[in-house]
């Protein structure tokens, strides 16, 4: 899948590296918010009552 995404990135090599870096960063941020939601919902909501 990673190779397939890499192959469809447009532009010369340097631009493709930059595009890939942006995609990775966006993915990590999305994953951070997803994990935060998952954690505060099911694992440890902070001990609040009510």
């Amino acid at each position: 899948m990673i190779r397939r995404v890499w192959s469809v990135l447009p532009g010369p090599l340097l631009l493709r590296v930059a595009e890939a870096a942006v995609l990775v960063a966006v993915g990590l941020v999305a994953l951070h918010f997803f994990y935060s939601w998952l954690g505060t919902t099911f694992l440890d909501p902070g001990g609040t009552i009510g």
């Binding site: 899948m1 994953l31 951070h32 994990y35 935060s36 998952l38 954690g39 505060t40 919902t41 099911f42 694992l43 440890d44 909501p45 902070g46 001990g47 609040t48 009552i49 009510g50």
Partner: protein, 253 residues
């Protein structure tokens, strides 16, 4: 010339030779690998990333808390202790006899770091953990928050502070070690309020009665229970025994 036997190369698993079953097995295999990586990422995120974020925040929050202490508005207020009506069991405010003078501070805005909690017995809280006002998710990402609409620590009534047990620095991680008689200190702009633990209990997350007001000055700490689960709440109930308002409040009871 020596004859070298031809090396037979195995056909690729996803080639047409293997058909649909092989392609399916390959897809399932990759799905499991990705799920495993996502699960591992979740554990790393919850245990280390959130703690790193909370501890990094603590440094900033502590500086904000010091500035807040310097500018906090402290007033003297008249306080008449409540009594419990023996017939109804309800608290009757302002019916407890002679008024006493207490030191009081204004309620901080939501998200404001306004106190430090120290529990000598708990390693993570030995040097203090900054407490912010509010128990919204964003407030609790700093580790511990004070429930609005309950009194501030050191004031009459039942001050409630909630904190994370597993993630975001997990300041209340070792709360199962706390037993009656242990000491809890909460420092606010007024000074240091010393509490003694009276009881610990495990309740359901919906048991809001633990936050109810009661005569005297109390501190109720709540966190998730058991560790790594949101199924129950571990509650530590402590009574004010020393501090700027302690003798005025307890002397009236």
């Amino acid at each position: 010339m020596q004859n070298v036997p031809a090396v037979e190369t195995a056909p690729r698993l996803d080639s047409a030779e293997f058909g649909l079953a092989a392609r399916l097995a390959r897809a399932v295999g990759w799905t499991l690998i990705w799920l495993g990586m996502l699960t591992l990422g979740f554990v790393v995120h919850q245990v280390w990333v959130t703690t790193w974020l909370a501890e990094r925040n603590q440094t900033d929050l502590d500086q904000q808390r010091v500035a807040y202490f310097d500018n906090a508005e402290i007033n003297e207020v008249e306080y008449v202790p409540p009594v419990i009506d023996p017939e109804t069991g309800q608290i009757v405010v302002g019916a407890g006899g002679a008024a006493v003078t207490l030191l009081s501070e204004a309620a901080p805005p939501l998200g404001q770091p306004f106190a430090v909690i120290r529990i000598p017995k708990i390693e993570r809280l030995r040097n203090g953990w900054t407490v912010v006002e509010g128990v919204r998710l964003v407030d609790l990402r700093t580790g511990a928050g004070h429930m609005p609409n309950t009194p501030l620590p050191g004031q009459p009534g039942n001050a409630v502070i909630s904190g994370h047990r597993t993630t975001y620095g997990a300041p209340f991680h070792e709360f199962d070690l706390i037993v009656p008689g242990d000491t809890i200190e909460v420092e606010t702009a007024l000074g240091t309020h010393v509490y003694t633990v009276r009881e610990t209990l495990v309740v359901k997350p919906t048991d809001v009665w633990v936050t109810n007001p009661k005569p005297g000055a109390w501190l109720t700490l709540t966190t998730c229970n058991p560790k790594f689960s949101a199924r129950e709440r571990l509650v530590v109930v402590a009574e004010l025994v020393d501090g700027p308002n302690a003798s005025a409040i307890t002397g009236q009871l």
